[in-house]
């Protein structure tokens, strides 16, 4: 198994560019706007969709996203979309379906690239403050923060468990064995993480946690 252990994390606080300087609300609204507009552009207006694609590309280069990064993400994204879109004209032998598929590919790519721009310019801290301003329930925001904090720790743990497994596994595992080992890996991760959740809960109680969330008002 040659799986990667963590997906590409998005923005870090240290990045700086024209796009990074925008207010966080504007970043999120702008991306949503592009996605909605792209979804609303009718089939026959594909040149407009193309213009949108160019605009998103320009935004990406302004934000300092490298071509290599884009190519890597697109290489993972496009094949599934390709197969999905192709199943329409293959099943319904009408000429219209081909047009539809092409515009679907274009539309999905525009939205995907807009999403890449967003993750590149919006770090978690800004996202949480936007959600707070947009009146997202505070419990949900606390859970998002909590999850983001621990998901990296769990990835590290998974990596350690996997190398421990690889050190004892001398290759040539059958598919069935790979499945049972991977399931066991997840089970072990689950047990450890639940135990960690119990400990964290205790640590929260020790600092006066009673289930209600209080947070600092300002977002400096």
């Amino acid at each position: 198994m040659s799986d990667s252990c963590s997906p590409d994390a998005g923005a870090t606080a240290s990045d700086t560019s024209l796009c990074h300087g925008l207010p966080a609300d504007a970043k999120l609204s702008l991306t949503l706007l592009v996605v909605v507009v792209s979804g609303l552009i009718p089939l026959e207006h594909w040149p407009a969709q193309g213009l949108l694609l160019v605009a998103v590309f320009m935004a990406l280069s302004l934000a300092g996203v490298t071509v290599r990064y884009l190519a890597r993400r697109l290489a993972l994204f496009l094949p599934a979309l390709f197969v999905f879109g192709l199943s329409i004209p293959v099943a319904s032998a009408e000429g219209l379906a081909w047009n539809w598929t092409l515009s679907l590919w274009l539309r999905c790519t525009v939205s995907f690239l807009a999403g890449l721009w967003l993750i590149h310019v919006l770090p978690l801290r800004e996202l949480l403050s936007v959600l707070r301003r947009w009146h997202c329930p505070v419990v949900l925001i606390a859970m998002i923060g909590f999850m983001y904090r621990y998901v990296f720790i769990l990835w590290d743990e998974l990596r350690r468990l996997r190398s421990a497994r690889d050190a004892r596994d001398f290759g040539g595992a059958s598919t069935w064995r790979e499945w049972t080992i991977s399931a066991q890996l997840i089970g072990l991760l689950l047990l450890r993480a639940m135990e960690r959740a119990e400990r964290t809960h205790r640590a929260m109680l020790a600092r006066g946690w009673d289930g209600s969330i209080r947070s600092l008002d300002d977002d400096r």
Binding site: V36, L40, A91, L154, L191
Partner: protein, 325 residues
């Protein structure tokens, strides 16, 4: 499994988002009653577990692609339907906004298909089955496996429905997509059932106390639970039926011929009963739904056998010592 932006129409996405937001809000309310001050750490950690577990790839028999756990039923079995739904929603939110995995606009649809149907519906199926089967390890594991399979197919059915709504104005037949989705999700569903069952069997062998037994319910809620379970099962059967509503030749066969996916054809597991249609002298509709039920039964028997076969008494990987010293 994640629906990307651009596949569904904006109006469908917005409608799904409204429904999902209500479901998430309701889950939050119920959760604070059920878990009290443990709600944030337990749900947040479960979301992190599901996200991390999705990084473990499972090779699909003979195919060059691999699948991974979705985790809705697993989370719901461990923490109940409310926390399960929230955990999956959190995973989807973070994946969409911070990792560009899934879509922003289609977030609502994803939360509905995987979080609401996966965790609420999956849990209803699991709890209803367990109520009938008892509390043995075998019953728990096989109930969860069946729930996992049904929830994945139900999600596929919903996707087809949403896709049909989005594209019905464009004047063509989306049956090709339906066939592709159903076959793909029947496969993914088997994987999901196997992984969920195996992981739960492992957890039960080490810390059985982490998996709560279903509590006795007041009659109204029990009826609601069975109703939800029935709805999920019906959706799953509908998914199996969807491709056969059209008179067109099997879209998958056409796709595989065109693309030369010979392996897809030969490696199709026997579960998918050749083209779903059992040659019986009854109406085609019935034979197909019979095939669906038979498929469910096979998954169920497989799950029971799996639960009996997998006994985690060996300890190749050591668990860190408990800190309750």
């Amino acid at each position: 499994m994640h629906i990307r932006d651009g596949i569904l129409g904006p109006e469908v996405c917005v409608a799904a988002a409204v429904v999902s937001a209500c479901a998430v809000a309701y889950s939050l309310r119920r959760l604070r009653v059920d878990l009290e001050d443990r709600a944030v750490p337990l749900t947040g950690m479960m979301a992190a577990i599901v996200f991390a577990a999705q990084m473990v790839n499972f090779p699909l028999l003979g195919l060059p692609v691999s699948g991974h756990l979705l985790g809705g039923v697993l989370a719901a079995v461990m923490l109940g339907p409310w926390a399960g739904c929230l955990a999956i929603s959190l995973v989807l939110i973070v994946q969409a906004v911070l990792f560009s995995d899934g879509g922003l606009l289609s977030l609502g649809a994803n939360v509905f298909n995987m979080g609401v149907v996966g965790a609420w519906g999956g849990h209803a199926v699991y709890a209803a089955l367990r109520r009938c089967l008892g509390t043995s390890v075998t019953a728990t594991v096989s109930s969860a496996a069946v729930a996992a399979w049904l929830s994945v197919l139900a999600a596929a059915a919903l996707f087809c429905f949403e896709f049909g709504l989005s594209s019905h104005s464009s004047g063509f037949d989306p049956s090709g997509v339906f066939t592709l989705m159903v076959v793909y999700h029947a496969l993914i569903g088997i994987g999901e059932a196997l992984i969920t069952g195996a992981v739960l069997a492992f957890v039960l062998s080490r810390r059985a106390d982490l998996i709560p037994a279903p509590t006795p319910l007041p009659a109204v809620r029990a009826v609601g639970q069975f109703g939800t379970a029935g709805l999920v099962a019906a959706l799953a059967v509908a998914a199996l039926l969807a491709p056969f509503k059209s008179e067109l030749p099997d879209g998958l066969d056409a796709v595989s011929q065109q693309l030369g996916f010979a392996s897809l054809e030969t490696e199709r597991p026997p579960l998918l009963l050749d083209d779903y249609a059992i040659p019986l002298p009854v109406e085609a509709w019935w034979s197909v739904s019979l095939a669906g039920m038979l498929g469910t039964a096979i998954v169920f028997v497989g799950a029971v056998l799996l639960a009996r076969a997998v006994r985690w008494n060996t300890t190749p990987l050591t668990l860190a010592d408990n800190t309750d010293v």
